[in-house]
Symmetry: C2
Subunit: 209 residues, 2 copies
Amino acid sequence: MNQEYSSHLLEHAVTELSRLPGIGRKTALRLALHLLRRDESEGIALGEAIIDLRKNICYCSVCHNISETEVCDICASSLRDHSQICVVENVNDVMSVERTRQFGGVYHVLGGLISPLDGIGPESLQIDSLVERVSSEDIKEVILALSATMEGDTTNFYIYRKLSVFPEIKITQLARGVAVGNELEYTDEVTLGRSLLQRTLFSDSFTED
Amino acid sequence: MNQEYSSHLLEHAVTELSRLPGIGRKTALRLALHLLRRDESEGIALGEAIIDLRKNICYCSVCHNISETEVCDICASSLRDHSQICVVENVNDVMSVERTRQFGGVYHVLGGLISPLDGIGPESLQIDSLVERVSSEDIKEVILALSATMEGDTTNFYIYRKLSVFPEIKITQLARGVAVGNELEYTDEVTLGRSLLQRTLFSDSFTED
């Protein structure tokens, strides 16, 4: 036994917990000792929730979002507009867009962004399946909702080129501009420049709603 | 279903993870999504380690340290000096003292410190069982290894008073002084004052080893 821990079980739990991102062995030990201090049921509930999550979650065969069924709730819903696809980087972003309550279409999760430096090419992302979806389903608009970073822009452009063989489909991207609530003084010049070039009619801000 | 998460299982895992200290819902979501990206076996190993920890660890009936058996490895060991008890606040401190490799005796884990403001009185700590151990076993020395805080000092004094009915037992406490490696400039005045009052013979620092 490693003399550092009073018990094999504790050492094992610390090792497993410290595999999580941002959790070192010291934090892992603190978490394990916390679990020991609390009710037995609480620790067991945590362990079971993790096993359940890992065993029973799969990916939607249509949009690649996480799901408990072969096709996710959003893709299976008749209340959503299936002619509008919002392309996002990952599962997290689906939740971010859903929280806005401004989107009634369906999603397509790429599983990352093109990043040659990290060895991520278009073929390791769900881009071919997007093109396949667009060609076989009745799609009217593809919204590119990727991060406003170089990788996001590269991926946007790559997808735009791939989809340009379908001229009848509208391809849009998220508006770039000053974030709501931000002061102009602290907005970087690139964002400010873009938001000047892409300025919108003031009257649109109260007539659109 | 809470619209915020794409899946019940994910939401449940996030809720359970966010019960851990220092982990909010955002971090919990990040951890859960990390587990989903990694091998299934990794997530299951984590879940099982936590359940195992919580189900199979108990507390040593002698010293109250965590243990996998009724009496912990240290208390059961014939290689340890059972006449010397090191009193510590919690399980973590047992590991800290063990790491120094300077102590060959046994432990007594109080489970906290006296802190009237937090409603922790002597009766909620393992102090009576310490007195009971001292009175029934053949103890020569009790080392008070508590934090150098007000709560630690209060607890030290309380235990000292309780054990003063056994005048043949030596009661010691950890030396207070300048931490090894610390510069004098950054040592607080109370520590510096104490270390002056309790100065030791320089010759002792190389003859004792």
